[in-house]
Amino acid sequence: MKKYVVDKLAQYVIVLAIVSVIIFVMVRLNPTDPVSVIVGGKQTTAETVANIRAEFNLDKTYFEQYLIWIKGIFQGDFGTSFQYRQNVTSLIMKRLPVTVGLVLLSSVIALVLSVPLGIITALKQNTPLDTGLSVIQLILVACPPFLTSILMILLITIFTPGVSFTGSFTNFNEYMQRILYPSIALAFSMIALTSRVTKTSMIEQLNSNYTLVAKSKGLSMRQRVLNHCLKNSLIPVITIFGTQMGVLIVGTVLVENVFSLAGLGSILIDGVKSCDYPIVQGIVMLLVFVFITISMLLDMLYAVIDPRIRAKSGK
């Protein structure tokens, strides 16, 4: 177990380091001159250009710039945005509540609904209930979150006109109201995929030999599912949940756009469009960091569930 954890942690750190280099390099491949972004099209003298280059460390080598960036990250400083001339960290902090709220709320909704849904459809195989739910699943998989969001807005404005659910918020109640609908929209496609995987994996476990043995021991269907199959069927579910977390993190960018919420997405897309490197590299790094961390934690979860994984790397 110890070796497994150490291995995974080492991998985690290496991947993070490589990813940071890739992000740093990719962002700088754009031929646009940062200075023109910073001055925003105004006429400038050679002196101000030189000042700006010095201020944003653009006069240093790329290697030095990278080190400054990484060092900054460890001190919680993501550099200064070109177009806003503001500290990226404070820009991120202001927008973090929306993004974090969306990710947390939607993943909780998705997890709470999809696993039971998958189990039910597995148990009710080939019944009208199963067929009906499968059709809904199929449509939800095909429906990108921003489309779900647009449909939701349309429905809300038709059926409950006057309810405010977009834009800024001033207190916690309003905050929850703002993030509830986009979270549901985000959760939908995740529910569709995760419940489908839960279903197939549950069916596989229900047909397994050890489940037959459990039946021959006199265990009821309920006991077989909860005491035996559930744990075994969760392994592929964790895998899909991990990759879906990535989709969900990017999905926040899309839904906050539709619901006009001030999250990380809007400044990220703005940054991409206007070559604002510090913002793009900062937010991308943050999102990737969250994603990789979740993946790493899920890797640990495998070992907690499955003794074979613990043993394999224990020797």
Binding site: V15, T157, M245, V250, L254, V280
Partner: protein, 294 residues
């Protein structure tokens, strides 16, 4: 052709598969012949006739710039399908050979290629596409290339796992013993045996590519105005959603329809290849059958 083979082919054409195939065919034909079917130039602005709603002339109405929505759906569909195909093509050209080499040779080649895949997979897929676009600029070509690359690792890993199963089979050993080259064995002997499974995955991947491209265009990182695809149309229409819902509902429905049809078709092919997944008759029908025989 013997009876069992006929029966097998017949079992492929279930109701949902036929419907999805027809839908896909119609969508493909509509986008191929968009130029003939469309009555209007999709980019022709008509300020005097904006947001008209469905009429005899514009049977899906017009958008906020007075452009015919139906014509834009047709041309947008062409754009969407072509770009999705482009994404798949790029991922196949890189991913399949990488998977084959990785699976066939194993060892260091495998380790290195799989580490690179892992790094790409460390990014949530669309996010990597964003970074790519930020490096090389906005536009549909860059979006297609970006997504194509993002799709490579998944496909490479699938190919690799298939090859690893195939390479231990007797025919590969036989080919080796009569002195075929590695390249010949990999691409002429092993690959054809993996094609069917890969095709199923690619059918599903086209669906995902359509969704991801729509996301990028929706955010303004993909196709650039005045050209449009379904994703961009969704974005154009959502500002006027309460006045003229069709402007964004129509492309939205097209996306759902296409992806659902692709999924059903892909699942149908998969069930055909793997009879284990085929559906059983209902218990009622079964009881009747048993009753008749007894």
């Amino acid at each position: 052709m013997d009876n069992s083979k006929k029966e097998k082919i017949k079992s492929f054409f279930t109701g949902p598969v036929i419907v999805s195939a027809v839908v896909l065919l119609l969508i493909i034909l509509a986008s191929v012949f968009a130029g003939i079917i469309a009555k209007y130039d999709p980019n022709e602005v008509d300020i005097s006739n904006i947001l008209s709603g469905p009429t005899m002339q514009h049977f899906l109405g017009t958008d906020k710039a007075g452009r015919d929505i139906f014509s834009r759906i047709l041309f947008g569909g062409r754009m969407t399908l072509l770009s999705a195909l482009g994404v798949i093509l790029i991922s196949v050209i890189i991913g399949v050979p990488v998977g084959i080499f990785s699976g066939y040779y194993g060892g260091w080649t495998d380790k290195m290629l799989m580490r690179i895949s892992d790094i790409i997979l460390a990014f949530p897929s669309l996010l990597l596409a964003f970074v790519f676009v930020s490096a090389f600029g906005r536009g549909i070509i860059n979006a297609v290339v970006a997504l194509g690359i993002v799709y490579v690792p998944m496909l490479a890993k699938l190919t690799r796992s298939l090859v690893m199963v195939e390479k231990n089979k007797v025919y590969v050993e036989a080919s080796k013993s009569i002195g075929y080259s590695d390249l010949n064995i990999m691409f002429k002997q092993i690959l054809p045996n993996c094609v069917s499974t890969l095709l199923v995955q690619l059918t599903l991947d086209i669906g995902y590519a359509i969704l991801d491209l729509a996301s990028m265009s929706f955010l303004g990182l993909g196709v650039q105005p005045p050209t449009s695809d379904w994703g961009a149309m969704l974005d154009e229409g959502r500002i006027v959603i309460t006045i003229s819902p069709l402007a964004s509902l129509a492309p939205g429905m097209m996306i759902i329809l296409t992806v659902v049809a692709l999924n059903i078709f892909g699942d149908g092919v998969r069930a055909y290849l793997d009879p284990q997944q085929r559906k059983l008759p209902s218990l009622k029908k079964f009881k009747k059958l048993v009753g008749e025989e007894m």
